[in-house]
Symmetry: C2
Subunit: 228 residues, 2 copies
DNA sequence: TCCCCATTGGATTGCCACTCCAAAAACGTT
DNA sequence: AACGTTTTTGGAGTGGCAATCCAATGGGGA
């Protein structure tokens, strides 16, 4: 498909305002961030890029390709922004938070993630986590399980959080109103049948998803320390 | 809408072969189990039930309602089949495995779960988990976080696993072929850039998702013990 | 200069969820 | 048992979507 001349120069761009795979993905991300998964329609894309279907489908295989690549792009951004800490635990926390915040900022990634959980970009995260666990003296045979476990928790909690955020946005409530309503609703739950849920209501009122996420990260880190 | 006579008798059923919400949900689950999310179309439902659109929409609000209720039904089945152990740890493992196996058997639940993570049925699981953590002497302030963390890991890993299974089914490969292909592919990964992933290949070959899931549960349990 | 083919735009196709309505079946009342 | 009412049913119709198809355009190499 791509024709490269003998002198090795890249194929010349066709038009000044030329459409490209990158531009299309960028637009797709904008649409997704703006209005969620439902907002990404091919029709909306043609309008946003003032072009036609044919032009888009020339650069992109189909909508799945579009969604998958957009998701890759989000994860790639997390990677480039990753911080290097001297303390492996702190580094793991930062890595986890990076993923959590990215999915929180782009909730549509969550849906795509549960559709395709094995994108190549994630390999870099597995590699980083495994390396940090090695630095924590986790023995090799346990490292494999621990890496997957850590990723499952991080992505699982981020997805849950993103879905909640999406639900919030759809219902037009803000965070406080939603938590208040949920707390009230849960408070009415039959205390006899659900004593622990009932007792949790008070904590729900001033509850911070990000902090709870980090608390979970620390539970896993404590559990992993026991593997040594 | 419902008219209840003064003597309190319920409204009589309409037809012998009567369509009902339950029958429709049942059919939906059959279609979903048979061919995944794509297989559930209203058209397919009308054929499967030999009826029309109107009849179905009389009992069900829309497709989301259908999917949500079908998901509830799967979780409800897990609840009824739940085992009670004397050892809280063992009980947590059984609870987790019940969810894992259910999502493994009905992979379409995963997608719905990341769309609506707060269905009322899940309250029962939160309650059970919180109760078991209490039995493990997890202090109350930590119990709230730990319960959510556990659920996030369990559902997150189950969703990841289900997506893999779905991917497997779509590509027509069996488990062994897929793992072999993945291991081969990963083996080719640049060992310099991905030393830990490269080292993990050997473990991938005889890797059991269910066992790895349980290993993760144990990491969590070990981490919980540190909270005491 | 001229031709080739990468690139483009949009009409068209086919599938889908969902609506609407008229007919049929059961019910309650007398 | 007859009748009006309400519930339930089937399917034609609507609008929106992803994806295909094809004719037109124009840039760059020969």
């Amino acid at each position: 498909m791509a024709k490269t001349s003998a002198n090795g120069s890249a194929r010349a761009p066709r038009r000044k305002d030329g459409l490209s795979r990158e531009v299309i993905i960028q637009s797709a991300i904008e649409l997704l961030d703006g209005g969620g998964e439902r907002a990404l329609t091919l029709r909306a894309l043609t309008i946003h890029l003032s072009t036609g279907y044919g032009a888009i489908y020339h650069h992109v295989a189909d909508k799945d390709d579009l969604l998958a690549t957009a998701t890759d792009e989000i994860f790639a951004r997390v990677l480039t922004g990753a911080v290097i800490d001297t303390d492996p635990r702190e580094n793991l926390r930062h890595l986890a938070l990076g993923l959590f915040d990215a999915i929180d900022a782009h909730p549509w990634v969550a849906a795509e993630l549960s559709r395709q959980p094995w994108r190549p970009v994630l390999l870099d995260f597995y590699e980083s986590i495994a390396g940090l666990l090695d630095a924590l003296d986790v023995p090799e045979r346990a490292r494999f399980d621990a890496t997957g476990t850590f990723m499952s928790y991080v992505l699982g909690d981020a997805v849950k959080n993103a879905a909640t955020a999406r639900h919030l946005a759809d219902s037009g409530m803000d965070r406080a109103a939603f938590l208040g309503a949920a707390a009230t609703q849960w408070a009415e739950v039959n205390p006899g049948k659900y004593p622990f849920v009932h007792a949790a209501v008070s904590q729900l009122r001033d509850h911070n998803d990000r902090e709870q996420f980090l608390a979970g990260v620390d539970i896993f880190l404590a559990g992993i320390a026991a593997l040594r």
